[in-house]
């Protein structure tokens, strides 16, 4: 799931503009950034950090990665963490 504080309209238009995204985008738009705040990743400008969370079937947080805004996380690291859960 991808989450940003943009509206669902923006997210849909964006997903279409880049040729579609294979997972749903969730709009944390109103109350603005409420979910990002719960997860401790809402920045002062009202937008979220670039952050990854893995939540297992029991609803427990198993992995957290808060990344530099300008850097894209290495997805292999994430996949390795997911393999550990299976």
């Amino acid at each position: 799931m991808g989450i940003s504080c943009d509206s669902s309209f923006s997210q849909k238009a964006w997903a279409e503009s880049i040729g579609g995204i294979s997972f749903p985008l969730l709009a944390d738009f109103w109350p603005h950034g409420e979910t990002a705040k719960k997860y401790g990743v809402l920045r002062d400008g009202g937008f979220p950090e670039r952050a990854l969370f893995i939540i297992d079937k029991q609803g427990v947080v198993r992995y957290i990665d808060v990344h530099e805004l300008r850097e894209q996380p290495d997805e292999e690291v994430l996949f390795e963490e997911l393999r550990k859960l299976h």
Binding site: G2, L26, F47, K57, R62, Y63, I64, D65, L82
Partner: protein
């Protein structure tokens, strides 16, 4: 602004969460359905990856 792929993680915890905590439930509007998507609906069914990203339509 170019985005580079980096292995460096700036943090493995946030101001409210660390590994081992119960994930706060939330319900948000999804791009793929009219019904809201709720985290707790996945309990007992599947692991969930959540990717927060700063903005749509920008290189950020």
């Amino acid at each position: 602004m170019a985005i580079t792929k980096g292995r460096t993680s700036s943090a493995d915890h946030t101001s409210t969460l660390k590994v081992g905590d119960v994930a706060p439930d939330f319900e948000l509007k999804a791009t793929t359905s009219d019904a809201p998507w709720k985290l707790s609906d996945q309990r007992g069914k599947s692991n969930v990856v959540i990717a927060f990203f700063p903005f749509s339509f920008t290189p950020v």
